[in-house]
């Protein structure tokens, strides 16, 4: 078939509405930053992980509901989350997990692996800050369980340059389940 062939569709096809992504070097650097993020979390280096969080962090995992297609814009709650944190409350969570020895929801710790892919990076109105979307596939295995609980999600991050590296300013985790399939979020996404 020739590449001049006409496309036939029952309706007018709109143009792709996504803005142009950033340059490949920045993309690569931010991808490495997300890998660092996942590595620190997967390896229980939670106290070190706090280094890559910005002091003005907002960390939000909105509650989701199954809606009719016409109402899809309101699937995610803008107000209520499974998690709704700032740096201070995240630091308290980490303190509990790392320093008390009595944080039973993660002791013994879950075996968690975070697979991060489909990274897209866009420049923003603020110099040195980028909007980043990544896909997350998280496997969690715990105690005697022979199978994994899975969590797949799309993460909408705001990332800010900080010296040679970056810090996480905002993370919104949009889960693909309306009913979470694990008994808690004692882990970070």
């Amino acid at each position: 078939m020739s590449n001049t062939a006409e496309k036939i569709a029952p309706f007018e096809i709109p143009p792709i509405s996504l803005p142009k992504p950033t340059d490949s070097i920045t993309h690569y650097q931010i991808q490495q930053f997300l890998h660092l993020d996942a590595y620190l979390l997967d390896h229980h280096l939670l106290d070190q992980w706090l280094n890559i969080l910005a002091p003005d962090l907002r960390y939000f995992v909105p509650v989701r509901q199954t809606k009719e297609r016409k109402d899809r814009d309101s699937e995610f709650s803008t107000k209520l989350g499974h998690m709704d944190d700032n740096f201070q409350s995240i630091a308290l969570r980490v303190h509990r997990l790392v320093n008390t020895g009595t944080a039973w929801s993660e002791d013994p710790a879950s075996r968690v692996r975070r697979f991060v892919s489909n990274v897209s990076v866009w420049e923003t109105d603020v110099t040195g800050e980028y909007d980043v979307i990544s896909y997350l596939l998280l496997t969690r295995n715990r105690f005697y369980q022979e199978d994994y609980t899975l969590l797949s999600a799309e993460r909408h991050d705001r990332v800010r340059r900080k010296g040679e590296t970056f810090e996480l300013v905002r993370r919104e985790v949009r889960m693909d389940q309306s009913v979470l399939g694990m008994p808690n979020l004692a882990i970070f996404l």
Binding site: V61, V63, Q65, T66, K67, E68, D71, S77, K79, L80, G81, H82, M83, D84, D85, N86, Q88, S89, L92, R93, H95, R96, N99, T100, G101, T102, A103, W104, S105, F143, Y144, S178, V179, L180, G181, M182, P183, N184, L185, A186
Partner: protein, 477 residues
């Protein structure tokens, strides 16, 4: 085959009778030792018992489905569960709330496939049978052809309807035509629930749609804990002391005991821990003032309930509650507990990083999804007339404390699956749950004569009431 089926049906008929007998010959009554206060651990998994519970409890009692503020407008609906049945909770044009089985009487398809939305007509996507928010049948396509048949009149073809009753905006429903009003089920505990939910003229509202998650455990693991298990606070929630959320760091368990002090109240399986206000004041605000020497009025001003953040709301509370109820609030406000069978309440008085008092209302239902699985639904509530900026703080603090990621409740939800796993074992199932730490009835001077009152250290008395109510429904009814 016919004979086998016949036997299975007979077995099942046996299970439905008073004092039913399980197929291994064990009467359900034998799962309890009422004298030594023990319950067989097998109750935390047994699939046969689960089936009886659906019949004798979940189709008989009033169940909490949500809050009226989730569906404020005509046509608004949410889909919820009563036992394992999906129901549509919808508001009609007159503003009334209806609860209907989400099963099309035509071919059994779910009528609503979304979980929330707005519709004046719910049309089944399979063959197009249509229903109003009140469950009544509108009609089927090809009206002239009578595609709904001519055997039943339209009035007979509506969705199966449950009875509905509101309690301070909380939506309750039951399938039981013979059940008394909800107040009967709440018994003397209504006095305390009125304090929690009925303090202001504007009433409460939800702070968003509920969190939902699945826990691989029997519903009763969470159910019985909600009925005043104050003891687990010391060990399971030890980290809360270690990080300073329940007061200052101490080295010995004895120093944590104040959090277990207060007044447990229980009636008909409903129970609440009224935690000593002096303890909360000392651990959360800790200003050095002597709380014990203050009058009720002074105490309420220093330590108002969650959301009562200005003089207007405090005045409303004093207008709406009786002096007895205000006294309870001043001495030991109801904070943690349940409503039988599957509601869990957590009203938090929590410190904020700046030293002020943050707080929130967390309401759960424990929805059975099989003998080894339940859905854990979490609503976050606040007084409607609490200022918006305070609601934002309350919402965040409550989400950080209760529900999916709550620093307190994440430890609970990780514990319950172990109990159900343990109850599957040949020997595990022969173990018993023991409720033998008895405080006995003890009503402090000035405390109202409402429900069974157990003042002092939180022991097993109220939780045992939960099991007595369960026993009553499973064995005697």
């Amino acid at each position: 085959m016919a004979t086998q089926n016949g036997n299975a049906n007979e077995d099942y008929a046996m299970l439905r009778k008073a004092n039913p007998v399980l197929s291994d010959g064990t009467p359900i009554a034998d799962l309890f030792n009422l004298e030594t206060r023990e319950v067989s651990l097998s109750t935390m998994y047994d699939p046969e018992l689960y089936r009886v519970e659906m019949d004798k409890i979940f189709t008989k009692v009033w169940l909490l489905l949500g809050h009226a503020t989730e569906i404020p407008k005509s046509g608004d609906y949410v889909v919820r569960h009563m036992g394992e049945d999906e129901v549509i909770v919808a508001r009609d044009r007159k503003g009334e709330i209806h609860v209907s089985l989400n099963v099309c009487p035509h071919r059994g398809m779910h009528v609503c496939t979304a979980e929330s939305g707005n519709a004046q007509v719910h049309k089944c996507i399979y063959h197009g049978w249509a229903f109003r928010p009140d469950g009544s049948f509108v009609g089927a396509p090809l009206e002239k052809e009578k595609m709904h048949g001519d055997i039943y009149p339209k009035e007979k073809l509506g969705l199966k309807k449950a009875r509905v009753q509101l309690f301070h905006g909380l939506i309750f429903a039951t399938w039981n035509e013979e059940a008394g009003p909800l107040e009967e089920q709440l018994g003397d505990m209504k006095f305390y629930y009125d304090i929690m939910f009925g303090k202001t003229h504007g009433g409460m509202e939800v702070l968003g749609p509920p969190q939902r998650l699945t826990i691989p455990a029997n519903w009763k693991t969470a159910g019985e804990q909600a009925a005043c298990d104050g003891f687990h606070t010391l060990t399971l929630h030890r980290s809360q002391f270690d990080i300073g959320n329940f007061g200052n760091i101490s080295d010995t368990m004895e120093e944590f005991v104040p959090i277990m002090q207060g007044v447990n109240v229980a009636d008909r399986g409903n129970a609440l821990r009224c935690i000593s206000a002096a303890t909360t004041f000392a651990s959360v605000i800790g200003s050095g003032e002597d709380f014990n020497k203050m009058s009720d009025d002074e105490r309420l001003a220093k330590l108002p309930p969650p959301g009562i953040v200005n003089a207007q709301l405090l005045a409303e509370m004093k207008e709406r509650l009786s002096p007895e109820q205000l006294h309870v609030c001043a001495v030991a406000p109801p904070q943690v507990g349940n409503m039988f069978p599957n509601v869990n309440l957590l009203f938090i008085y929590a410190p904020l990083p700046d030293g002020t008092l943050g707080s929130g209302y967390v309401v759960h239902t424990i929805n059975p999804r099989g003998p080894d699985k339940f859905q854990w639904i979490t609503w976050f509530l606040c007084e409607k007339d609490t200022p918006e900026e305070v609601k934002d703080i309350i919402r965040a603090v409550a989400v950080q404390t209760g529900g999916t990621s709550g620093l307190i409740e994440q430890d609970d939800s990780d514990t319950w699956p172990h109990m159900t796993e343990a109850a599957r074992g040949s020997w595990g199932r022969t173990e018993t749950l023991k409720y033998q730490a008895i405080g006995g009835v003890n009503r402090p001077e000035g405390w109202p004569d409402k429900a069974n009152v157990y003042a002092g250290l939180s022991k097993d008395d109220a939780q045992w009431h939960w099991w007595l109510q369960y026993h009553e429904l499973m064995v005697n009814k």
